[in-house]
């Protein structure tokens, strides 16, 4: 006290300061009983008007409703607070600040766009709030955690990294393209975005390993509307298959592929193709398109998958998108972690989440540890999450790989010439 007065704060001012500090302290010290009945708030920042993104808040809400109907977490209800980020990083950052500072959420589920998640990542550290992404894929997200663990440990990557997605695609290509169709060459075609840089690197690395030569590697702007020159260039190189890495675009390249009757199959990551509405959006042009996924409408990856799809369809009238599955699981394992931590304190929550071992709709969820080069990335591979390879056939998404959960066989539209190229 004396010290303060010496530094020029007058006694009455000091008294006033002390009084206000006491008031603030009182305001924060809510009684324990009130605390335990307060709802657990989970903020959901997502691309609500994009087909894939719209499933994120919907699936999160479904999970919250189910948990609440079963009595909540130790008697506390889960409340979902949604924010539409209009696919914009600055809007997401504003939403994150509002979620934490004004709406006092306990954790955040955010976005399927890597650029958005990367923009939010420093804020998870600054505002010490746990964030899980249901759909972003860039490896940089978890690489950042490795570089600055103490500050960025609040970020969890609830979806596969691009490198693991490329590996899962290669594993499927080995069985389907090399094993069944004896293919030998490919051209990699992907949109220029943060998530495709590691994806393409891994494609180029793993394809030769399974006997497929990479003839070319084309990256195009996500603003591209006319794909004719790209398909013409690829066709001139005579590959057996086009390895795709597309998410922000999807409808346009698919429709133009069909319209120009490009005789080469498309195989790989095509996020928009995971949506059940893709058939209508492309007027059926997606027939024969093969895409990597971690879930499919009629694929019982785990016993929880199909009940989730049924409940989602009953509530919203359409199938969930790929990040709907992960968002649904995320609410469950966040709730589970909060229960195990016995608290919503962010540091305790991080510790509990790191020990997650939860069988969800896409497989068994476990995170890589602090010492991994990708801390808080999902473990991908046999025993955890393997991924699927699906194909659009007659308006349906048919799973072809892994064979133990396959419900169909490879089938192409007549303009595709499998094996006729060199």
């Amino acid at each position: 006290m004396n010290k303060l007065i010496k530094h020029g704060v007058s006694a009455p001012t000091f008294m006033a300061l002390t009084a206000s500090a006491a008031l603030v302290a009182l305001a924060f010290a809510t009684p324990a009983s009130a605390q335990s009945n307060e709802p657990i708030k989970i903020g959901v920042i997502a691309e609500a008007t994009a087909v894939a993104g719209s499933s994120i808040p919907q699936a999160a809400q479904l999970a919250a409703d189910e948990i609440n109907a079963a009595g909540g977490v130790d008697g506390r209800k889960i409340e979902i607070v949604s924010y539409d980020n209009h696919s914009s990083a600055p809007e997401s950052v504003r939403a994150f600040q509002r979620a934490v500072n004004e709406d006092h959420v306990n954790a955040v589920i955010a976005s399927y766009i890597s650029e958005v998640v990367l923009a939010l990542q420093p804020w998870t550290g600054r505002l010490k709030t746990v964030m899980v992404t249901p759909g972003a894929a860039s490896d940089v997200i978890t690489q950042n955690i490795a570089k600055d663990y103490d500050h960025l440990k609040y970020t969890f990557h609830g979806y596969a990294t691009s490198t693991s997605i490329a590996d899962a695609t290669c594993a499927a290509a080995k069985d389907l393209l090399v094993g069944q169709l004896h293919m030998q060459s490919a051209v990699v075609m992907s949109e220029d975005a943060a998530w495709t840089t590691p994806l393409d690197e891994e494609y180029v690395k793993c394809l030769p390993g399974i006997g497929i030569k990479v003839l070319d590697h084309i990256r195009f702007s996500p603003d591209t509307t006319d794909f004719t020159p790209i398909f013409n260039k690829i066709e001139g190189e005579k590959p057996n298959v086009i390895l795709t890495g597309i998410s922000h675009v999807g409808v346009q390249p698919t429709v133009q592929w069909k319209q120009q009757e490009v005789p080469i199959p498309m195989f790989g990551v095509s996020s928009q193709a995971t949506n059940s509405s893709f058939w209508n959006d492309t007027n059926g042009a997606t027939e024969g398109v093969l895409y990597q996924g971690f879930s499919g409408p009629d694929v019982a990856v785990t016993p929880k998958t199909l009940p989730f799809v049924t409940a989602f369809k009953a509530k919203y009238g359409n199938n969930p998108s790929y990040c709907g599955y992960t968002a649904y699981d995320e609410v469950y394992y966040l709730a589970d972690a909060i229960k195990r931590a016995g608290s919503t304190d962010s540091d305790k929550l991080v510790d509990a989440l790191e020990k997650t071992d939860y069988v969800g709709t896409v497989g068994r969820v476990q995170f890589k540890g602090k010492d991994s080069p990708n801390p808080h990335a999902l473990k991908i591979g046999e025993g955890t999450i393997t991924g699927l390879m699906l194909q659009w056939q007659n308006g349906k998404q048919v799973n072809l790989w892994p064979l133990n959960v396959a419900n169909g066989k490879l089938k192409f539209p007549p303009f595709i010439k499998v094996g006729s190229a060199n």
Binding site: T224, T228, P229, Q259, E261, N283, A285
Partner: protein, 291 residues
């Protein structure tokens, strides 16, 4: 081979640009309105045609017709609800009206864009093509739809030419674009001409939109780029000059196609924009501009 490919693809895309920009040039020439909701009106036509096919299970012809009808109606609403009240307002000073209309149409376009994104998501939509399949022209596998697009574009532009040069109403429109005051002195009501021009523009927007939806597909994100491309074509051709816009559409279309094929698809739009800057320096009124 690449030569023929560029020739054919460039022709199709240029014809579509020409049709899109013609109406935009026409309403500027006659009524001095730069309609910044142009792209939104085209996207509305595409989404309507797409929804007709998917939600109402309409055939390709009915879907396309509904798309054109929605494009037309949206354009007339733009005129009667947004542009005309500002033009006729006594509260806004005459010299400020242009900037008011510019801002109002821009905001109107954003409203349409957001509505489309809200109800139909911002994913791209394509219209089921009326003609499917491919035709080989000098070894180039060309989608029949691409040829169809070019033919329809030129039919509509031809009809427009006949309308303007061979009918009484059309001649009045042409006269109004040259000298609005002179036309009123001849006893022709200028407001009637405006309605006629906006109606023509509405049909052009609807047809161009539906063809674009069949050829390339659009999303609500396309609203800005579509307006910008029509704007730059019209500025390049000379504001208000329809024939200038036609020539500029081919210059831009071929420049983009050549860039996409010979350099990289990623740089597609850059040379055309550079050309626009050069033209602004050397000949600010555009290729065939009068003012």
């Amino acid at each position: 081979m690449v030569f023929w490919q560029i020739l054919i693809d460039g022709f199709a895309i240029s014809s579509l640009y020409a049709l899109g920009a013609t109406g935009f040039a026409l309403i500027f020439g006659v009524s001095g309105v730069l309609n910044l909701s142009h792209g939104a009106l085209m996207v509305a036509a595409v989404v309507a045609a797409w929804a007709a096919g998917n939600d109402l299970h309409a055939g390709p012809y009915a879907g396309a017709a509904l798309g054109v009808a929605v494009g037309f109606c949206a354009t007339m609403v733009t005129y009667f609800a947004i542009v005309a009240p500002l033009q006729n307002s006594r509260k806004i000073r005459e010299e400020e009206k242009e900037i008011f209309i510019l801002t109002a149409t821009l905001l109107w376009g954003i409203m349409i864009q957001q509505l489309i994104a809200f109800f139909y998501t911002d994913n791209a939509k394509t219209v089921a093509p009326i003609v499917a399949g491919v035709i080989r022209i000098t070894g180039v596998r060309t989608p029949a739809n691409e040829i169809f697009t070019a033919i329809v574009c030129w039919l509509v532009i031809g009809l427009l030419w006949l309308l303007v040069n061979r009918t009484r109403a059309g001649k009045a429109v042409l006269a109004a674009s040259m000298n609005p005051r002179g036309v009123t002195l001849l006893g022709i009501e200028l407001s009637q001409i405006y309605i006629a021009v906006w109606a023509i523009y509405g049909v052009l927007v609807g047809v161009a939109g539906v063809l674009l939806g069949m050829f390339l597909g659009v999303s609500s994100y396309s609203v800005g780029p579509l307006t910008a491309s029509a704007f730059s074509i019209v500025v390049l051709g000379g504001l208000g000059s329809v024939s200038g816009a036609l020539i500029a559409a081919y210059v831009v279309g071929y420049l983009e196609t050549i860039t996409a094929y010979l350099i990289s698809p990623a740089y597609r739009t850059i040379p055309a924009l550079l050309l626009l800057i050069v033209v602004m320096y050397i000949r600010p009124r555009g290729l065939l501009g009068r003012r």
